[in-house]
C-alpha cells in the first residue's frame, strides 16, 4: 500500500511538470537579463557611448582567453561566498544587510592573523587566518543579534549602520595602530608568505580559494537541506510561529543563521586578503556585501543557483575593467545593470505568463 502511494506521488509530479517549471525559471531569468542589459544599453547610448562595443569588450574581458576566464573564476570566489552568506540569513528570514561590514571585519581579522604570526608553517597559518576571518565576521553580527533578540529591534537598520561603522573602524586601524607606511594606499602590513593561498595557474590570480568556494557550495547545500540544523533554519525562515509551536529551537536558529552568515562572508574576506591583496587595504571591497545580497536574491537563496549567479557577477566585475579601458565606458554601468536585474527579479508577471504559455504548449 505504501509503495503504491509513493508510485502515485511520483507519477503525479510528472517529468513534464518539472520540465515546465525549470524552463519557466530559465526563460524568466533570460527575460530579466535582457531587460537589464537593454536598460544599460539605453543609458550608454543616451550618454553618447556605443553599447554594443562596450558589451563586446565586457565579454572579451571576462572570457576572452584562458587567463581572463581564470581571473573571472577568481573574482567569483568572493561573490560565491557573499551569495552563500546572504542565502543562509535570508533563508532563515533574517534581513542581514550587514554583509559589507562583516566582510571588512573578517578581512581585517584574517590580515591581522596573517601579519602578526610570522613563524608558522603554511599548513597552520593558512587555516588560522581563515578561522580568524570567520570569527571576525561572526562577531560583528553579535550587536545586531543582541538588539534583535533581547530588544526586538528589527535587524535592517542596525546591520546597515554597522557597515558604516566597520568600514570606518578598519580605516582607523590601518591609519593608526596597524599602519604600514610602505603600503601604496592606506593599508595594513603585508601578511606573511606562509598565510598566502597557493595559486592554481601561473599567470592568473586564481588560487585554492576557488576550490574552497566550490566545496562550500556543496557543504551549504548539504547543511541546509540534509541536516537537522538546516531543517530548523529553513522552518524558522518559512514560518517562525509554526517553528515555535512545533518545538523547534527558534532563538538558536536565528543566532546560528546570523553568525554563520557573518562567518561565511568573513571567510570571503580572508580569502580575498590571503589570495589577492596580501594585506588589508582601506576600502578594498567594491560593494561585495551588496553583491552577496543581490546574488542570494537572484539565486532564490539556493546554493546551487548561487554558483552561476556568482559566476555571472564575477564576469561582470572582471569584464568591466577591460570595457572601461578599451571603450572608455565607465564600469559603473555594470553596477546599474546588476541593480536592475534585482529590480525585476521579484516581478511575478513573467513567470506566470511563461508558465501559462508553456503549459498550453506542453500539455
Amino acid at each position: 500500500m505504501i509503495k503504491n502511494f509513493f508510485d502515485k506521488a511520483k507519477n503525479s509530479h510528472t517529468w513534464k511538470e518539472n520540465l515546465v517549471n525549470l524552463t519557466t525559471q530559465l526563460l524568466n531569468y533570460l527575460i530579466i537579463l535582457i531587460i537589464a542589459l537593454f536598460i544599460g544599453a539605453v543609458v550608454m547610448f543616451l550618454s553618447g557611448k556605443d553599447p554594443i562595443a562596450a558589451y563586446a569588450a565586457l565579454w572579451q574581458g571576462a572570457f576572452g582567453n584562458g587567463y581572463r576566464f581564470a581571473d573571472t573564476l577568481d573574482r567569483s570566489v568572493i561573490m560565491i561566498l557573499a551569495g552563500i552568506a546572504g542565502s543562509i540569513a535570508f533563508r532563515t528570514n533574517i534581513t542581514n544587510l550587514g554583509l559589507e561590514g562583516q566582510l571588512y571585519i573578517g578581512a581585517f581579522a584574517a590580515a591581522w592573523a596573517g601579519f602578526t604570526f610570522t613563524n608558522l608553517p603554511a599548513i597552520v597559518h593558512i587555516p588560522l587566518c581563515m578561522i580568524a576571518g570567520i570569527i571576525g565576521g561572526a562577531l560583528w553580527t553579535l550587536p545586531v543579534l543582541y538588539l534583535k533578540m533581547r530588544w526586538k529591534i528589527p535587524e535592517l537598520v542596525p546591520t546597515l549602520m554597522l557597515n558604516y561603522i566597520a568600514i570606518r573602524l578598519t580605516d582607523y586601524l590601518i591609519a593608526f595602530p596597524f599602519r604600514d607606511p610602505a603600503a601604496p594606499m592606506a593599508g595594513s602590513p603585508l601578511i606573511a608568505a606562509s598565510a598566502k593561498l597557493p595559486k592554481l595557474i601561473k599567470g592568473s590570480t586564481i588560487n585554492i580559494g576557488f576550490i574552497i568556494a566550490i566545496v562550500l557550495i556543496f557543504v551549504t547545500y548539504w547543511f541546509l537541506f540534509k541536516t537537522k540544523i538546516g531543517y530548523e533554519l529553513r522552518m524558522v525562515g518559512l514560518n517562525q510561529d509554526f517553528a515555535a509551536a512545533a518545538g523547534l529551537p527558534v532563538k538558536r536558529s536565528i543566532f546560528l543563521a546570523m553568525t554563520l552568515s557573518g562567518g561565511v562572508i568573513g571567510l570571503g574576506g580572508a580569502l580575498m586578503i590571503q589570495g589577492f591583496f596580501g594585506r588589508f587595504l582601506g576600502g578594498f571591497s567594491s560593494g561585495y556585501g551588496w553583491d552577496g545580497f543581490m546574488i542570494a536574491i537572484i539565486a532564490q537563496n539556493h546554493p546551487f543557483a548561487v554558483f552561476p549567479t556568482a559566476l555571472f557577477y564575477g564576469a561582470l566585475a572582471n569584464g568591466a575593467l577591460t570595457m572601461q579601458s578599451v571603450t572608455g565606458v565607465p564600469q559603473a554601468v555594470v553596477a546599474m545593470v546588476k541593480g536592475t536585474l534585482v529590480l525585476f527579479v521579484t516581478v511575478k508577471v513573467f513567470v506566470e505568463n511563461i508558465r501559462k504559455g508553456l503549459r498550453k504548449w506542453a500539455m
Partner: protein
C-alpha cells in the same frame, strides 16, 4: 408594504464551487430579513453580490423596483446599500467620529472641519438612538461600540438597506440584546435590514422573515412567527444530521495533566488568564467553551511553553513542566493543534514532509547524528498521510496548495499519527473546514481519547463542544469555569457561564 430590495436568478461560481445557484428573493421595506445557513452555504457570497464586492455571473438586482448593477461597493452605497462586515473596517488610531465620517468628511477649505464632523456624527447617532462616545479613539472602545460605529458609518452615508454579516459573533450576550434593540429602532425608522447568521435562536428573536440557504441554493423563506428552531435546522442541514452528539461518554481514567493556579499575560502584558486550574484525565474529552478572546489562546500557549506564566504549576504524570521548553513539553507527551493553522499550524511554503516531521526529525531513526534520514522520514510521512486520508499529489508538494481541511489533516496526522501524545490540546480544530472534514477531525479526536489519551478541545462553536465533550469548562474573562459533565441541561449552563460567568440565570 413596498419592496426595498430583490434579487432574481443570481448565480455566482468560483473555481470548483457554485457558491450561489439561481437565487431569487425579495425583502420588504422596513423589515428584518435573516439569511441563515451553514458555513459555506453561500450567504456571504450572496451579500457580497448585493454589496457590489462580487459581480454575479448572471441574474439581476432591484432596488425599490428598479434594476441596478454594481461594479464596486461604492455603487452599492450610492444606491443606499451598506454592509457591516464581521471584521470591522475601522482605522484603529482614528476617533469613532472620524471613522464614521471617513470619506465624506465635512470640509472647511482644504481642511477637515473637525467640530462640524463631530456634531454631524452626534446628530446621526441621536437620531437612531445609538449610544456612542464619538470622540473616543477606536482601539480604546469595546467591540460593541466599534460595531455601533460601523453601523453608523453606513447610516451616515444615508444608507437605507443595511447588511449585517454575523453581527453577534463578536458580541457578549448583553451587547447582543442592546444591538437587537437598536436594530428594532432602525426598522421603525424605515431602514431595511439583512441579517446573516447561523444562530437560530437569535434569528428567531430578531427577524421578520427568514431565508434559509444550503449548498449555494435558497431552500426557502418562512415567516418568523410561523416557524421554529427544529424546522429551520432541518431546512439548513437537510436530511444529514450534523452537529449531533458524536461522543459516547466513557469512564475517565487516571489523572494525566494537572494545571494549578495558572496566570498568564496577553501580548499587551495585561492579565489574560487568572488563577486557572484544570485537570485532564486519561480517556476523557474536556471541552473548553467560550467566546473568542476570553483567554483561551493565552491559556493554551502557556501550556505549550509558548508564553511565560506569571504564576502557577503544570504537571504531567506528576512531573512539573512549566519551566520546560516547548520541545521538552511536547516530548513529555503533549500534542497541539493550533487554532490558526496558517499562522502556526504549518509552514505553507514548506513541503508536506517538512510539515510532518518537526516533532521527529531530530531523533533516531529519522536522523543519524547530524543528517536527516530521508528514507525513514518519507516512509513515516507517507504512511501517516495515507492513514489520515490527506489528498495531496505527493510528499514534495507545497503544503499551501492543499485545501484547509487537508492542511488540518496534515496537522492531525503529525500530532496524533505516531500515537506518542498522552495529552491532546486542540484549539478550534474544525474552524473553516467543510462538513466531511469536520466530522473526520472530530472522529480522530474521539478515537484518540478512546485509546487512553486526555483530550482538551477548545472551540467557540458550542455545537462542537456539545458534540465531543465528556466534561466542559468555560473561558470567561480569563477564568476557567467548570460547567460540569455532559447532560441534558449543559447547554444552558454553558451559555450562562459564557455570558455572565455564573452558572445560574441572572435575569
Amino acid at each position: 408594504m413596498t419592496e426595498a430590495l430583490s434579487v432574481k436568478n443570481i448565480t455566482k461560481a468560483f473555481p470548483g464551487v457554485l457558491a450561489n445557484d439561481n437565487i431569487s428573493l425579495s425583502v420588504e421595506k422596513g423589515t428584518i430579513r435573516a439569511i441563515v445557513g451553514e458555513n459555506g452555504a453561500g450567504k456571504t457570497t450572496l451579500m457580497n453580490v448585493i454589496y457590489g464586492l462580487y459581480q454575479p455571473d448572471s441574474g439581476q438586482i432591484f432596488i425599490n423596483g428598479e434594476e441596478v448593477t454594481f461594479s464596486s461597493p461604492r455603487d452599492a452605497i450610492a444606491q443606499g446599500i451598506g454592509m457591516v462586515h464581521q471584521h470591522f473596517k475601522l482605522v484603529p488610531s482614528y476617533t469613532l467620529a472620524q471613522n464614521i465620517a471617513l470619506g465624506v468628511e465635512p470640509r472647511k477649505g482644504i481642511f477637515i472641519d473637525e467640530p462640524a464632523l463631530n456634531k454631524s456624527v452626534k446628530a446621526i447617532a441621536d437620531k437612531y438612538g445609538f449610544q456612542i462616545n464619538e470622540r473616543e479613539v477606536t482601539v480604546d472602545v469595546s467591540v460593541g461600540e466599534q460595531q455601533r460605529a460601523e453601523i453608523l458609518k453606513a447610516l451616515y452615508r444615508g444608507v437605507e438597506i443595511l447588511v449585517l454579516d454575523e453581527p453577534t459573533a463578536v458580541l457578549t450576550d448583553i451587547e447582543t440584546k442592546e444591538l437587537f434593540v437598536m436594530l428594532r429602532n432602525l426598522v421603525e425608522q424605515g431602514i431595511t435590514i439583512l441579517f446573516i447568521s447561523h444562530k437560530l435562536r437569535e434569528v428567531l428573536e430578531i427577524s421578520d422573515d427568514i431565508s434559509v440557504m444550503r449548498a449555494g441554493k435558497l431552500v426557502g423563506t418562512v415567516k418568523c412567527e410561523e416557524t421554529d428552531e427544529c424546522q429551520l435546522a432541518e431546512m439548513m442541514v437537510g436530511r444529514e444530521t450534523i452537529g449531533g452528539r458524536m461522543r459516547e461518554t466513557k469512564q475517565k481514567g487516571e489523572l494525566i495533566m494537572e494545571i494549578e493556579g495558572l496566570s498568564v499575560l496577553d501580548n499587551r502584558d495585561l492579565t489574560a488568564v487568572k488563577d486557572a486550574s484544570l485537570n485532564l484525565y486519561s480517556g476523557e474529552i474536556v471541552g473548553g467553551a467560550g467566546v473568542d478572546g476570553n483567554g483561551q489562546e493565552e491559556f493554551v500557549e502557556a501550556l505549550l511553553g509558548l508564553r511565560p506564566l506569571t504564576s502557577g504549576k503544570i504537571r504531567i504524570d506528576g512531573k512539573e513542566i512549566q519551566e520546560l521548553s516547548t520541545r521538552e513539553i511536547r516530548e513529555a507527551g503533549v500534542a497541539y493543534i493550533p487554532s490558526d493553522r496558517y499562522r502556526s499550524g504549518v509552514a505553507v511554503e514548506g513541503t508536506i514532509w517538512e510539515n510532518m516531521v518537526p516533532g521527529e526529525y531530530y531523533v533516531k531513526p529519522y536522523s543519524n547524528g547530524l543528517a536527516l534520514a530521508m528514507p525513514e522520514i518519507m516512509m513515516m510521512s507517507g504512511t501517516l498521510i495515507q492513514k489520515f486520508n490527506v489528498a495531496t499529489p505527493g510528499l514534495d508538494a507545497k503544503t499551501g496548495n492543499l485545501s484547509g481541511g487537508n492542511i488540518q489533516r496534515v496537522i492531525a496526522a503529525r500530532e496524533l499519527g505516531l500515537e506518542k501524545a498522552k495529552v491532546v490540546i486542540a484549539s478550534q480544530p474544525t474552524r473553516g473546514i467543510d462538513i466531511a472534514g469536520t466530522e473526520a477531525i472530530r472522529q480522530m479526536l474521539i478515537d484518540y481519547a478512546n485509546r487512553g489519551a486526555a483530550v482538551f478541545v477548545i472551540s467557540a462553536d458550542l455545537d462542537e463542544i456539545l458534540s465531543l465533550s465528556d466534561r466542559v469548562v468555560v473561558f470567561y474573562e480569563g477564568n476557567v469555569l467548570d460547567a460540569g459533565y455532559y447532560d441534558e441541561t449543559i447547554r444552558q449552563r454553558i451559555s450562562w457561564l459564557m455570558t455572565s460567568g455564573k452558572d445560574y440565570c441572572v435575569d
